[in-house]
């Protein structure tokens, strides 16, 4: 209850008493005093200083609200009047004031209600905007803590706990107090915590020491407010606010406010959680796709995953190193885009025939054996050593690069002839010569063309997946990952700045990972050798020089970071 002058404003009282004075004989006096006797307003002839009020010819009438006396109306007549003769007027004036007091009190109570509603509406509005501004659970938690920390709660401790369906225990996702991990666990293990969670309703405990569910799990806590956070069927959590100051008690208003926040948070968390789930499913599908592509050929297993991670690692470093790569600036979403591009860059290989993809030799084995038969016959007829020659052909068939000597042998055996049943055969036909002479690797030009189509194939396969909402460049990054800065790459022969930075990164890590692993046409190279080749390519103007330099400098870290999970992307469950 407020003091009387809040209900009956002195300015109003003065006017009111002035008018009321007219009801009384001249020389009368009216005054309203508060509960300590201070005069709020008066009218008429004031009695002498120090005289007893109301005195023998006056009346004193209490002004009260709900049984509490807040002040008093004093009515004094003049010398001639008796208390009885002024009683009707006095009672009338009193009743009018008492009536105004009652109504003013009611008005205030209603206004307080309304203001509370305004407060609630404003809080709700703010909370909805702030808490829903993020699709990340962790950020929703941070926003809720900020709101609790900055507003009216008398709490030095604020903690948010969550439990994912897959986990046994609650984890603290955020707090604004210095409480160690063990204490947080002790809190979430306490009977108090457990029972409030089970009960599902927020509670205030203003004297923790008297609560038998609390065993001083966090020493020094005196008061506590806890509200369960509910996002239907998904996560169960709690907001805990507390203070070590016994005086800082929580009220029903605090509980109501916290409940409002908790309900909004529940919705926000459900949104964020569902969003993350969808992200995870997408991620899993993309990974499955990448694994499927890599699995077509046992030698490329894990290639896409490694390329994705190396690319992100290199990009992160390029972003940090402003001296080597001053132009590079990657946001988190750019890094995610690059990661997905890395995972999917070889999807187009699904359109390449398996025999081309896994081709290990220039000629298929049965074909080489046929040549062996011709050689054996030639050996018989001419009496020459043919086994060594055949062994040489077997090596040539598998070799990545041919020496001049190899080429000479091939040419020579195109000339060697064999008479069989009247016909003349050469040991090697023209076609066989061409295929054995394939300069590098073992693919014929047609087969190479087939391989070189894979960036476009990747683009074609992925173009209908609506990645572009999040990742506007992903298709182009993939399409350009075999372009080279000097214009010698494929499919479009783009050069220089026309090639996306992300594609240049992908190019480097793609080449590197291929060099470092066995391929059908070559053995795995050492790290040192692989880096030397990258440097050569950069000197030849094919790969981006600063990026290659950075890659070589930080290779240990770039390779090491693989297998440490994917820090940028939604984790396997809510709590990451």
């Amino acid at each position: 209850m407020k003091p009387l002058r809040k209900y009956l404003r002195p300015a109003f009282l003065r006017r009111h008493l002035d008018e009321a004075l007219a009801l009384l004989e001249s020389g009368s006096y009216l005054a309203v005093t508060d509960d300590v006797g201070e005069v709020l307003a008066q009218a008429g002839q004031a009695p002498a200083e120090g005289s007893e009020l109301p005195g023998p010819n006056g009346l004193g009438l209490d002004l009260a609200l709900e049984g509490t006396v807040l002040g008093r109306l004093t009515v004094l007549g003049n010398e001639q009047t008796s208390p009885d003769s002024i009683a009707p007027q006095a009672r009338f004036i009193h009743r009018s004031l008492q009536e105004i007091l009652d109504r003013e009190s009611l008005r205030r109570a209603l206004a307080d209600e309304t203001l509370d509603q305004y407060r609630e509406a404003a809080l709700m509005q703010r909370a909805v905007v702030q808490l829903n501004s993020s699709m990340k659970v962790q950020e929703v938690v941070r926003n809720l803590l900020d709101e609790c920390g900055s507003s009216v709660f008398p709490a030095e401790y604020g903690m948010i706990f969550l439990k994912d369906g897959t986990l046994e225990k609650f984890q603290c996702l955020g707090s604004f107090c210095q409480v160690g991990e063990p204490a947080l666990h002790a809190l979430s293990d306490s009977r108090l915590f457990r029972e409030i969670m089970e009960h599902g309703k927020g509670e205030i405990i203003n004297d923790l020491s008297q609560d038998e569910r609390w065993q001083d799990e966090i020493p020094g806590l005196a008061t506590l407010l806890m509200i369960p956070l509910q996002a239907p069927r998904i996560a169960l959590g709690a907001l805990v606010l507390a203070s070590s100051d016994q005086e800082k008690t929580f009220t029903a208003a605090h509980l109501k406010k916290a409940s409002t926040l908790a309900s909004v948070t529940g919705v926000a968390m459900a949104n964020a959680y569902h969003f993350e789930q969808v992200q995870q499913i997408l991620m899993a599908l993309v990974k499955a796709m990448a694994t499927a592509i890599d699995a077509r050929d046992r030698l490329t297993a894990g290639h896409s995953q490694r390329v994705a991670q190396y690319a992100v690692n290199l990009a992160t470093r390029a972003d940090l190193d402003q001296s080597l790569c001053p132009q590079v600036n990657f946001e988190d979403t750019d890094l995610q885009e690059l990661f997905y591009a890395g995972l999917l860059h070889d999807v187009g290989k699904i359109g390449v025939r398996e025999e081309v993809l896994t081709k290990a030799t220039r000629l298929p084995r049965p074909h080489l054996e046929l040549i062996g038969l011709r050689l054996a016959l030639w050996g018989e007829l001419t009496g020459r050593q043919w086994q060594d020659v055949y062994a040489r052909f077997e090596i040539i068939n598998k070799a990545y690069e041919l020496s001049e000597e190899d080429q000479a042998i091939i040419h020579r055996f195109c000339q060697e002839t064999l008479e069989v049943g009247g016909a003349t055969l050469t040991i090697l036909t023209d076609d066989e010569r061409k295929r054995l002479l394939t300069p590098r690797g073992n693919l014929t030009p047609t087969e190479w063309d087939e391989i070189k189509r894979h960036p476009q194939e990747s683009h074609r396969i992925l173009q209908n997946i609506p990645f572009t909402f999040y990742f506007p460049n992903i298709l182009n990054i993939i399409l350009q990952h075999h372009e080279r800065l000097d214009g010698t790459g494929y499919p479009s022969g783009l050069a220089g700045d026309d090639i996306l930075l992300q594609s240049r990164i992908l190019a480097i890590v793609d080449v590197y990972d291929s060099l470092r692993r066995d391929r059908h046409y070559k053995k795995a190279l050492s790290q040192e050798m692989a880096l030397t080749i990258l440097q050569q390519e950069s000197r030849l103007g094919k790969l981006d020089t600063p990026l290659v330099e950075l890659f070589c400098r930080d290779i240990l870290d770039i390779e090491k970071a693989v297998g440490q999970g994917l820090p940028l992307l939604p984790g396997p469950d809510l709590l990451q």
Partner: protein, 128 residues
């Protein structure tokens, strides 16, 4: 010296609610809260009582908030009066116009009582 805050608002319930919020400052900050039900009366009180800060509704009969605000800002004796405009929600144009003619800040209705309180304290500190 006792400071004065004035609320100029034609809607009785809003005026009453604002008054009730600001009244809580009376003792702590030695401030008196005055009210006026329309622009004309508001301007008269500004001239007579010289409040340090005014919460001024825009949409009012007789004289609207812009007119009162302009009159105050054009008067060399009154121009230091801090004016906070009260606008209906979502009327961003009001806000811009108000700030252009010299209002210190604006508030949307229905207002957040805590926000009003904070703003009033801020104004009283400026006056100090």
């Amino acid at each position: 010296m006792r400071k004065k805050l004035l609320i100029v608002e034609d809607e009785l319930h809003i005026r009453t609610l604002l008054e009730q919020v600001l009244e809580d400052l009376e003792d702590e900050f030695n401030v008196e809260v005055l009210t006026a039900p329309d622009g004309e009366e508001g301007l008269r009180i500004i001239r007579d009582e010289r409040p340090q800060a005014v919460f001024l509704d825009i949409m009012m009969p007789k004289m609207n908030g812009y007119e009162v605000c302009s009159a105050v800002k054009d008067d060399p004796e009154l121009k230091d009066t801090i004016i906070v405009l009260l606008t209906a929600k979502g009327q961003e144009a009001d806000r811009k116009k108000g700030l252009e003619i010299g209002a210190y800040d604006y508030m949307t209705k229905p207002f957040d009582p805590d926000e009003v309180m904070e703003l009033a304290k801020e104004l009283l500190q400026i006056v100090d």
